[in-house]
Amino acid sequence: MGRIARMAGGTVASAVDALAARARRAGRGTTGNDPGGGRWQVVTVDRTPDEVRPDGRWPEPLRRLGDAVQVRVRPAPGCRGTELAARPRPGRVPPGLAAHLVGDDPGAPVRAALRQAKQLAETGEVLRADRPAMDRAGPPG
C-alpha cells in the first residue's frame, strides 16, 4: 500500500514537475512549436517596469509596430530589471514595412524595436551610425 502510494505520489509529482517545467519553458519564451505566434524575442532592461513603461504605454519603438506584435513585461529575477518581450502576430505586418521585407524573418523588426526600447530606457537615446558619404551634402573634408 505504502509502496503504491509512493509510486502514485511519485507519478503525480513528476507530472507536476513536467507541467512546471513546461510553464517555466513557456515563461522563458521557449514556445517550441506553439502555433500562436512563435518565439518571444526578449531583452532585459536594467530599469523597473514603471521606467520601461512610463505612463503605462509601451515604449515608442514598440508602439510603432502597432498591433502586429504582442508585447509583455515582467520583472527579471534578482533585481536584474525588467524582461521586455515581444513577438509578431502571425500573418500581421508592422505598419510601414512591406510584407516582402519582413517575410523572411518577421522577428527582425521586433528584435530591433526591443533593442531600441531598451537603449532609450537605459541611455535616453538610440545609437545612430555615421551617415554614409553619399548622403552628405558638399565635398568631403
Binding site: 541611455t123 538610440v126 545609437l127 545612430r128 555615421d130 568631403p140 573634408g141
Partner: protein, 385 residues
C-alpha cells in the same frame, strides 16, 4: 579629412573621408593628436577578419582634443585634452553599472553581428569590424566618440601625450589581466608576450604586490624593456623549454597567475600549415596552452589576447584536473582609466618608452610594417595626424 584606411590584405592607404559628425546627444568629436598601432590590428591588417570592408579606418588607441560636444555631454568641453577608452560603452546598462563595460549591451551599432559571432552583443570598439561596434577608427584627423562622458577622460596636466596615450587600451588591458587574474602580494606571475600589453601587465602585477614577475617572448629588445621598466625576469622562448623553466623557477609549483598577452598576431600561436589551411583547422593558441600547462594547481589563467574565432587543441583536461580558473575579457577600461592616469601623474606608471616610433599619419603604412615585422625594435608605432 585624412584617414588611414584598410584597402586590402597588408595594404593601407591614406585617403580623404568625410569628417565625423555628432550623431547622438552624448557624442563628442575629438581631434586626434596621437593614435597607436596594436597587436589586435594585425589580423585585421592581414585580411584575416571577414567583415572588414575596403575603406574602413583602423586604430582604437588614441588621445586628442575635444572640438565639438553633443547637447547631452556634461563632463567635457571644447578644448579638453582627453584620452579615449578603446572600448565603447553606455555607462547605464546592467553590465556597465557592474563595472563590466566591455560587456555593454548598448555599445555597438551592430549588435546582431556580435550576437552571431559570440552569442551576445558586446561593447563596441573603434576601428574594428562591425561585430566589434562599427565605429570609425582613430588613425584619422578626427574621431566621433559616442557616450563621451563615459569613454573620454581628461588628462591631468602633468601627464604628457606619449604617456597618457597608453591609458586608452594597453594599460587598462594589462591592469585588468593582473587584477581580474587575482594577483595578490607574494604571488609569482608569468606573462606571455612582451608587447605593450604584456609589459604593462607585468608592471601592473608588480604594483599589485607580486613578488616575482616572469615575462616570456622571443624578442630580446622587448624582453630587455620588460626587465628595465617592469622589473620583470624574462624567458626567451626560442632557447628555453618554457614550462620546464617556469617549474624550476617556481619551486615546482608553477606561477600563481598566468596572463596570456599574445593573441593571433603575425607571430602569435603556431603558424598554420598548408594542410591546416586546406582542411580549415583552427589556429593553435600556443601561449594559452603553455599557460594552462604551467599554471599552478588552483591558479588562474587570464587570456587577454584576441582570437578571431575558434582555436584547436585546447588542453581542457588540465583545466579540470588542476582546478584552474580560466578567464578572459576585453579591457574594462572605464573602470581603470582614472586610477591609471593618477598613477601616470605620480610617475608610478611610465609608458612612453613603448612609443618607439612616432610617424606622421601619411606614413601609417610604414608604421604598421615596422610594427608587424617587429623591425627596428618597434613596440608601438604612434601616428600623428
Amino acid at each position: 579629412m585624412r584617414a588611414l584606411c584598410w584597402v586590402g590584405a597588408d595594404t593601407l592607404e591614406v585617403r580623404q573621408v568625410p569628417d565625423p559628425e555628432l550623431r547622438n546627444g552624448h557624442d563628442a568629436v575629438v581631434r586626434v593628436r596621437r593614435s597607436a598601432t596594436c597587436g589586435g590590428d594585425l589580423p585585421l591588417l592581414a585580411g584575416r577578419v571577414p567583415d572588414l570592408s575596403v575603406g574602413d579606418v583602423l586604430g582604437h588607441e588614441f588621445l586628442g582634443e575635444v572640438v565639438e560636444v553633443g547637447p547631452e555631454v556634461r563632463g567635457h568641453r571644447v578644448g579638453d585634452r582627453v584620452v579615449v577608452c578603446a572600448g565603447v560603452a553606455c555607462g547605464a546598462c546592467w553590465y556597465c553599472r557592474r563595472d563590466l563595460p566591455a560587456c555593454c549591451d548598448n555599445g555597438s551599432l551592430d549588435p546582431e553581428a556580435a550576437e552571431t559571432a559570440w552569442g551576445h552583443p558586446v561593447g563596441g570598439s573603434f576601428g574594428r569590424p562591425r561585430a566589434s561596434g562599427g565605429f570609425a577608427g582613430s588613425h584619422a584627423e578626427y574621431v566621433r566618440v559616442p557616450y563621451a562622458d563615459v569613454g573620454a577622460f581628461t588628462v591631468p596636466e602633468a601627464v604628457g601625450d606619449d604617456r597618457a596615450l597608453f591609458a586608452s587600451d594597453a594599460a587598462p588591458a594589462g591592469w585588468m589581466g593582473a587584477d581580474l587574474g587575482g594577483v595578490r602580494p607574494g604571488d609569482v606571475v608569468a606573462v606571455w608576450g612582451a608587447g605593450a600589453v604584456g609589459q604593462l601587465t607585468a608592471r601592473a602585477a608588480t604594483l599589485l604586490g607580486a613578488e616575482r614577475v616572469i615575462v616570456v617572448d622571443r624578442y630580446p629588445d622587448r624582453l630587455r624593456m620588460a626587465e628595465r621598466h617592469a622589473g620583470a625576469e624574462t624567458i626567451d622562448y626560442r632557447h628555453v623549454d618554457v614550462p620546464a623553466e617556469l617549474r624550476e623557477r617556481t619551486g615546482g609549483r608553477g606561477p600563481d597567475v598566468c596572463v596570456e598577452a599574445v593573441g593571433v598576431g603575425c607571430d602569435g600561436g603556431s603558424p598554420r600549415s598548408l594542410a591546416d589551411r586546406f582542411t580549415g583547422r583552427a589556429e593553435r593558441p600556443t601561449a594559452v596552452r603553455e599557460a594552462v600547462h604551467a599554471c599552478r594547481k588552483g591558479g588562474t589563467v587570464f587570456v587577454l589576447g584576441e582570437f578571431t574565432g575558434f582555436v584547436d587543441a585546447f588542453p581542457l583536461g588540465a583545466v579540470t584536473a588542476k582546478g584552474l580558473t580560466v578567464r578572459g575579457a576585453r579591457q574594462h577600461g572605464q573602470r581603470y582609466i582614472p586610477m591609471l592616469l593618477e598613477r601616470m601623474a605620480s610617475g608610478e606608471l611610465r609608458t612612453e618608452h613603448l612609443a618607439t616610433h612616432e610617424l606622421p599619419l601619411e606614413q601609417g603604412a610604414r608604421g604598421y610594417a615596422l610594427f608587424r615585422d617587429r623591425a627596428d625594435g618597434c613596440v608601438r608605432s604612434v601616428l600623428v595626424p
